[in-house]
Symmetry: C2
Subunit: 233 residues, 2 copies
């Protein structure tokens, strides 16, 4: 009989999007500049929703200490002032890859499958229990590893993207490690019954599906979607 | 024809809870120690919901700058560390008035009318538009004045409450002034149509009803509710 932590780690090991064909091609250096820009642009739709889902999770907590912990995640992405934070760093990644800030911020060109995946995740955090919402965040257990691999892959295979553009990935190594430790401790503390443990595992599997579906949508797009053209590399 | 700002200020002038009979008696020094403790304890149920409703409002915003503005409100109440923030200061007010922290934190003894008022406000912020949720916060337009009057009244009429206990009121003078300026600017910017202006005014009237109903419930309680007994002053 596996412990809850083993079950959670097993979900991530089997279903995290580092195993998705599109991510494998990205890290193997096989993406065209247009494909990479398509991913950066569509993934930005997810990035900009992160502080929204984190504010919804914050609203579920009845203690100042828990809210403080989760507000820090909002601040990681929104920054302390204009020009700071993870959302800004992702915009700079897009610019380093040849996308304009205006195109990144224009949500109209986001692929329908990406939009549905992001909406689904935000609504999950809006509607489910604190345990499930926090358990869904545990994809962060693997995020630092995928970030380290990605930094190496981008430097090796996509040197046309300026190194400064990778600041988002570099920052997330430390943030993701801290976030996943905190969230795992909460889930292990809160999941007392078998039903609660099952719900936590299902929440994390759902979140893996969200990230996987996002890459499916990007992978299956044929490049003819509105505004997907970018400058040649 | 009044401007929107005039209409909003008129709602607060006519309907803010500084005009409620219970608040008038509080500020005239006519409350018994038990009545004052009943108010402090039941009002705490409102205080502890403030960062929750502010997190729900934060989740409505799509820009880092707006979320930063509203996250600061969460931090005002939750503090930057244990022992800080508005919720902690209200707990100390209760202790200064002879209530234990355990009793303040035990939500079971909260009056039903107070519970309904607070739930109603939180759900309003959860479900309504950003414009309405922000407009509802504009009772802060009068909060600094009521705080100043209250500090004077407590020092004069209820000297058995230690002066340190009034730190919550003192802090809110500056915070409320800043918050209401920011929120008013957003509402005036966002309310472009007559329907939007009407909704903003209605949202603020609703919020005045919330605060008024809270005092109604405290005023009409007969002191026999569970756990309302306190130490003699």
């Amino acid at each position: 009989m596996s412990t809850l932590e083993e079950r959670l780690r097993d979900v991530v090991a089997r279903r995290y999007h580092d195993r998705h064909p599109f991510n494998r091609r990205m890290h193997d250096g096989e993406l065209t500049p247009d494909e990479l820009r398509r991913w950066i642009r569509n993934r930005f739709h997810y990035q900009r929703a992160i502080p929204v889902k984190d504010a919804l999770i914050t609203a579920k907590f009845d203690s100042p200490a828990l809210r403080r912990m989760w507000v820090r995640r909002i601040q990681d992405h929104d920054g302390g002032a204009d020009g700071e934070g993870g959302i800004e760093r992702w915009l700079r990644l897009g610019e380093a890859a040849g996308l304009t800030r205006e195109r990144l911020l224009d949500a109209d060109g986001v692929l329908p499958g990406v939009r549905l995946a992001v909406d689904g995740y935000v609504n999950f955090c809006r509607l489910r229990s604190p345990l499930e919402a926090v358990a869904a965040s545990l994809t962060e257990l693997s995020a630092p590893d995928i970030m380290r691999t990605r930094i190496d892959a981008f430097e090796r295979h996509y040197p046309w993207i300026e190194a400064d553009g990778l600041a988002y990935f570099r920052t997330r190594v430390g943030q993701g490690s801290r976030d996943s430790k905190e969230a795992l401790a909460l889930v292990l503390e809160w999941a007392r019954t078998e039903e609660q443990r099952d719900r936590a595992v299902a929440a994390l599997a759902f979140k893996c599906d969200v990230l996987w579906s996002l890459l499916d949508a990007v992978d299956h797009a044929d490049g003819s979607e509105i505004g997907d053209e970018g400058p040649p590399a």
